[in-house]
Amino acid sequence: MDVQRGAGDVVTLDDLMTQARSLSEDIDFTAVTQWKARAEGRKAIGHMPTYVPRELIHASGMLSVGITGGGDRLEIIRGDAYFQSYICRIPRSTIELALSHRLDVLDGMLFPSICDVIRNLSGMWSMIFPDRYVHYVDVPQNFDVAVGGKFWRRELETLRTDFARLSGVAIDDDALRASIAVYNENRHVIRDLYRARSERPWIFPMSEVYYILRAGNVLPPEEHTAMLREYLVLAPGESDRRDQDRSRVVLAGMFCEQPPHGLVLTLERAGCYVVDDDFLLGLRWLQDDVTTTGDPLDALVDAYLNHSAMSASRYAPDGDRGRWLIDSVARNRAEGVIFAAPSFCDPALLDQPMLVTALDRKGIPHTEFKYAEDTGQFAVIREQAGTFSDSIRLWSEA
């Protein structure tokens, strides 16, 4: 199976995965450098995980670049000097990337309000790089359009002005609506992929989806959308992919510091189909299409207030903390939940007891372990996930 790309360019799944893998593992951000070199004066804005309004970056002609730490390939030489041992890994590897000049390709950096660590990192950034653009993106925790909405619109206006100044391109409403449409399409295809994977997880293994999604950190959204589409065509063409009757699990806790690829592989080898997850949640934070008519900032505000993904770092006004997880288990016919949270991740680990309570009330099995982005040893996780997978299959057969 292959797909035609442009004039006579034939792509196989292997080719696509090689490409996606190298994009997601490239700690030198070569793709961003290349993108900038393709035209004069191009700029790129980095952002930490979870939500930032990438549409505004796109509308100003800049590239938004997702920074999700250094993974398990980056050696931390300078980053540890900035953080105590009880702080998670992602800030130290991000600092390492910056101090080793790998992020020099970025013209600015956004820090969304995900937790105190990322928040304070924004201040460290502005002290280390006093000449670079740094912005702390304080998303609202009040979901009333007249209150939190008004505040958020004002924040978006600030970003609009800042990006226009950085790029030299004023962001008019038409451009912003066009960018919204581009990201709507990207989110749409990601939703397609998640739906397809939930239906036939053996066709779309998490170990591949991982790379395909993560490539979206560095690709322009149009190219990422194309890659997702190719993957949706190519993966089902692999004749050796059959249902192996594994247990269906939802993964939770990975919305910020990303697990190493080896961990995902380990879960699959231990007998799990991942049918939903909160991996790279920022790519699909807005869960419905954003309106492309009317005032585009109002549209983004409405999408954030009313159609956002639930995450540990978002306040749940209605109090039903575990509902999204229960819904996901039901929607995806999952048999259990694996909580895989980064060590020292306050939001995920403080959230977990509430989610566990919600699952227990419904009798949904779960297991939990911690990882770090540079975890290199999976023996214990393999054992634990294998036991869990076996036990929930026994449990569902009984």
Binding site: S126, D138, C345, L350, P353
Partner: protein
Amino acid sequence: MSAVRKEDSMLLQKQMMSDHYDRLASAHDEGRKVVYTFVPGNLNELVRSFGLLPVLPEINALQSGLRKKSGEYIAEAEKNGHSEDVCTYVKCDIGMLKKGNIGPTGTQLPKPDLLLLSYTGCFTFLKWFELLREEYGDVPVAMLHVPYQANGRIEPHQRDYVVQQMRTEVIPKLEQVSGRAYDEDRLREMLRLSARAEDDLVWTLESAKRTPSPIDAYFGGVHYIGPIFSAFRGTQGAVDYYTALRAEVQERLDAGQGPVTPEGPMGTEKYRLVVEGPPNWTSFREFWKMFYDEGAVFVASTYTKVGGLYDRGFRHDPDHPLETLADYCLGCYTNLGLPTRVDLLEQYINDYNADGFLVNSVKSCNSFSVGQLMMLRQLEERTGVPGVFIENDLVDPRYFSAANIKNRIESYLQMLDQKRGKAA
């Protein structure tokens, strides 16, 4: 004489606390309602203007630490599935709840009638009250999102956002719970009392600019901020407390005396230190002793600013009640961006003529801790004054390694000595 007067303010505070917890214990029987809320940016005057009684879970947690109960509470929370990695204030509070919710003075704490989630400078607050909401069932929550001061200055739209939340979220829920209407005149009256107490607090903290300092602005300071940061701001009781405190400190100042420690008046002041970060509560006295035994006194502290930077000029303003409360919330120390925090510490080191500074880095509090290693280097570079870095925790006794901490402090003070050429 001064030792006796010192006892006066201490006893006064103790009595205030004890009366408060007694009132809390009988609150529900007497038909009074209770609001749980957090110390930084708390809306104490607003809460009390509705006749509601505040409960501050952080205060309960630190009191549990002082009373050596926190280890047991934390273990209880961890047994119930709370991670070893996360904030021990939260776990201490949850553990206390699971073990019957007996407060620091031995009386029963009432269930909350409202959780006022003033989300100021600390992400964990949000999870904390979500957890309490689960524990207590159907308790209403009023969420007050206070935007972060990344650039260290309050933007008008941030103030508007906070005021609007008070009008649309906080006040309606306080009205609902209390059954009373919002009474702005009453609020103004309380804010007037706040400002009076605040004047005396600032005077007390700034007395440490004198040599020798009549106070320890950290280990003593945490007592001095007690009434104003917690349940008593805006009351006549707080005004009286600070009047008494000021008189005591004035007396020591006049007599050229140093701070009073748990073992009596401190010896000769040898080192003047500034400190960043909260103290440890489980071994509070042991930790303090490591300093006063060596003649080290803290002259300024950032922890005593988590409930407001009064020494930088802020006062509650009765003429703009909601706006002043918004500014108060926005301006708390942990809600300020790191560059602003470094600026403040630099000013303290200079203004208070410090010989050195301590960073007491607590595992529990990422809001304080993340970036402190960088703050240390920045401050050393800017001031030329050497700092020392200690790792610690708030209320987790497992994390207080006395030998390790003492070793560092000793090494550090000997280094200061050596640098001054006092010793060999």
